[in-house]
């Protein structure tokens, strides 16, 4: 018997380490011969900490929300008594969260111990590498990837085989394979999950890609904000080296390949290939003009190929199962599966991997179980700061590159932030512009100054000072920034504004002309009043920082609108739901 505690970043944040320690303590106290192991994120982040108990026949019982105080029950009932501790077990409904998915990238996440290479090998790990280096030619590998239809999972959706082929065709012996693990989209965490939960599938993908393009060295550029991912990668690389799966003469062939990690230092623009390369070289991460493309002149001016974590994690599966099997999932243009990070106002947030082409509705309602507190669904933001908001009316849109692009959003790296009626769309646009304004590297005028100007207009609108003509000005600026920027950051930065204007123009107009925030979220546009539920407890008037609330004890209170600064303290304080925001 074995106890496995999920310890991805979200598990740890939910207290998984304490839970694991409690299991270890109790198992030791009771003198049981049961090991406590760890695994990565299974994807049901809303149920963390998750504990799996495997019986001797490999049967699995999954327990959810296991805080340390719940451990005793599982130890007594299950580990000692041999019966399932039913109260803690995952519900049938929650089980469907995973059953409705198709898992290729996440095939091992949450199942194997990422810090033990033997568990990865036991699932057929490194078989694909063996097959490639001992029995395939680089062209055959590229052909297999071409058949699979795999496209870059980092944002642009460029065919992977094409990039590998271009890098292979570039002359020169010294070439580099680079992994972009600088998951910069605020709201996406699938790469982190793969790095933490199944680092070997990335390593294997890079070896295979390196073999195909003729590189002997790989670099993984990881965000510094992901310390656990870096830690697990280091362990995985050391173990692979020890087993001769990384380093010189893999599987006794002439092919050698080694990897190193380079920690990023926090710059969204480094998701752009040429900026990433500049950063790898120790410079400011500023993009340069293409061509020459990295496939011709990249890292240290040598042919370089860059793919993202999720793209690489697909590769071993494709080699083992064949490109056609991968292509069987998805749509003719968007083949395979895609991992989405479901977050925001969603009931069951987490990582979901589904075939491309599944309608948005099936992801949000079928898997994510709909909106928190059953507030009406308003929009879903896809593609992060480069993407856009897709309104509720387009909820039947199939999730693939082409159809999502048509809405004005992009698939991007797969962040799906769900929003309900309490989310202000103008504020969302402001939020993203604030982000891109800070992250603009400053090279192109339109991006550097234009995003700042757009942000100023959006701040003006959300603070109730919007003017007639602001929407048109935003649209004009947006088109100029798109045209006048060299890299993807500037070219896509206006998308969140353009899509929200396209689908939620009425909200912009409400802010500007009626000085109202439809979602009741922009504080300067709110009016707080007190309704008949007020009991006269005086709590709000005592909390009010500007003494705007007047009234006698046990009598109805009033807010003086001339004094009120709309801080919302009264609403937070009131125990009788007597404060109304409008």
């Amino acid at each position: 018997m074995k106890v496995v505690v999920g310890q991805g970043s979200c598990g740890v944040a939910s207290g998984a380490k304490k839970t694991a320690a409690e299991f270890e303590k109790q198992i030791k106290e009771k003198g049981l011969n049961i090991s406590v192991d760890l695994t990565g994120c299974v994807g049901n982040c809303y149920l963390e900490p998750i504990v799996d108990v495997y019986d001797d026949k490999g049967g699995l019982t999954r327990y959810v929300k296991v805080q340390p105080d719940k451990v005793t029950e599982i130890v007594e009932k299950h580990l000692i008594g041999g019966a399932v501790a039913a109260d803690q077990e995952i519900s049938v409904v929650d089980k469907t969260f995973i059953d409705k998915q198709e898992r290729i990238v996440l095939r091992n996440c949450g199942l194997i111990n990422p810090e033990n290479i033997d568990e990865y090998i036991a699932t057929g790990g490194y078989e694909a590498t063996k097959k490639v280096v001992t029995s395939m030619s680089p062209d055959e590998v590229i052909e297999e990837i071409k058949v699979s239809g795999l496209r870059g999972r980092g944002g642009a959706g460029f065919p992977t085989w094409f990039k590998w082929n271009a890098a292979k065709a570039s002359p020169g012996k010294e070439k580099y394979m680079v992994c972009n693990a600088d998951e910069g989209d605020p709201g996406a965490f699938m790469d982190r999950s793969v790095l933490e939960g199944d680092p070997h599938s990335l390593i294997e993908g890079m070896i295979i890609g390196g073999f195909a393009m003729g590189a002997t060295e790989g670099v993984i550029y990881v965000r510094a904000e992901y310390p656990l991912a870096i830690h697990r990668l280091e362990i995985a690389m050391a173990q692979a080296r020890e087993k001769g799966l990384l380093g010189k003469n893999l599987f006794g062939t002439d092919f050698s390949f080694d990897l190193r990690i380079k920690a990023g230092a926090g710059a969204f623009v480094c998701g752009e290939e040429t900026a990433l390369i500049a950063s790898l070289e120790g410079e400011r991460g500023m993009p340069r003009l293409k061509p020459p493309f990295p496939a011709q002149k990249g890292y240290w001016q040598k042919p370089t190929n860059i793919n993202n974590v999720e793209t690489f994690a697909n590769v071993p599966w494709i080699i083992s199962n064949g490109g056609e099997a991968f292509g069987a999932f998805g749509t003719p243009q968007s083949k395979g599966t895609k991992v989405f990070a479901l977050a925001g106002k969603i009931k069951k947030g987490g990582l979901v991997e589904v075939p491309m082409g599944l309608p948005l509705k099936d992801v949000i309602y079928g898997i994510g179980d709909g909106i928190k507190n059953d507030i009406p669904f308003k929009a879903v933001q896809m593609g992060g700061p480069s993407g856009g908001c897709i309104p509720a009316s387009l909820i039947d849109t199939p999730v693939d590159y082409e159809n999502i692009n048509k809405t004005g959003a992009i698939v991007g790296s797969g962040g799906m932030i769900v929003m309900d009626e309490t989310t202000c769309m103008v504020d969302m646009a402001r939020y993203f512009l604030d982000f891109t304004r800070k992250e603009s590297c400053g090279k192109c005028n339109y991006c550097r100054v234009g995003t700042k100007r757009m942000l100023e207009i959006l701040e003006r609108i959300t603070s109730g000072e919007g003017k007639d003509g602001d929407i048109e000005l935003l649209e004009e600026l947006a088109m100029k920034i798109k045209d006048g920027s060299m890299c993807g950051l500037g070219q896509t930065a206006p998308n969140p504004v353009l899509t929200t204007i396209k689908y939620f123009r009425n909200e912009y107009e409400d802010h500007i002309y009626n000085k109202k925030c439809t979602a009741h979220s922009c504080k300067p546009l709110l009016t707080f009043t007190i309704n008949e539920k007020c009991t006269g407890c005086t709590l709000c008037s005592r909390k009010c920082p500007v003494d705007a609330i007047k009234g006698e004890l046990k009598k109805h209170h009033e807010i003086d609108q001339n004094i009120c600064i709309k801080c919302g303290k009264c609403e937070e304080t009131c125990r009788f739901n007597a404060i109304i925001r409008d």
Binding site: C10, C45, G184, A188, R284, K345, G349, I417
Partner: protein, 172 residues
């Protein structure tokens, strides 16, 4: 970074970079290592002082202006000292939608500091960060100290304040 010897009587202000020396030995002459060197220096001293930048310049031959340029480009690098505990408040999209601004307000109320500032007692520094990648637990913050990184998820104003006051009590 001035003389670390607490018994020192000399009042010397000569910067002491002995801890950084092994890092320089390993990376100073490897091209493209500037970011790595800056990260290690920040790990050791908590921030990048002008003295440290000058020292790195001497060792690597890279001009101080360029090092400064790189250090100010990336959000990870700090040019000022930070408190014992670094609060990294996630401002990612999911956290924003779920009320990260409210949590920032709570932290500011509790500690009387804004983004980028340090409390007077030198215990806490507040830094807003782009995304911690724990989006399903939004809103989230991570509190880093020399000995641990603790992540707090599903925050409310009260739970954020509680986490801070617990650390305060522990340190008192």
């Amino acid at each position: 970074m001035t003389c670390k010897n607490s018994d020192c009587q000399c009042n010397c202000n000569t910067p002491d970079f002995t801890e950084l020396a092994p890092v320089m030995e390993k990376y100073a002459k490897t091209p493209g290592s500037l970011i790595t060197i800056l990260q290690k220096a920040q790990d050791i001293y908590g921030y990048l002082s002008m003295d440290a930048i000058n020292y790195i310049s001497e060792q690597t031959g890279i001009k101080p202006a360029k090092i400064y340029g790189v250090a100010t480009f990336y959000s990870q690098f700090r040019l000022k000292p930070i408190g014992k505990y670094l609060i990294m408040l996630c401002k990612g999209t999911a956290c924003h939608v779920n009320g990260a601004d409210m949590i920032e307000e709570a932290i500011s109320e509790e500690l009387n500091i804004k983004d980028g500032e340090t409390t007077e007692d030198g215990l806490f520094t507040l830094n807003n960060v782009a995304c911690l990648g724990c989006c399903s637990l939004a809103p989230v913050m991570m509190i880093k100290s020399a000995s641990s990184d603790e992540t707090y998820g599903n925050l409310t104003k009260d739970s954020a304040k509680k986490a801070l006051s617990e650390i305060r009590q522990r340190e008192a």
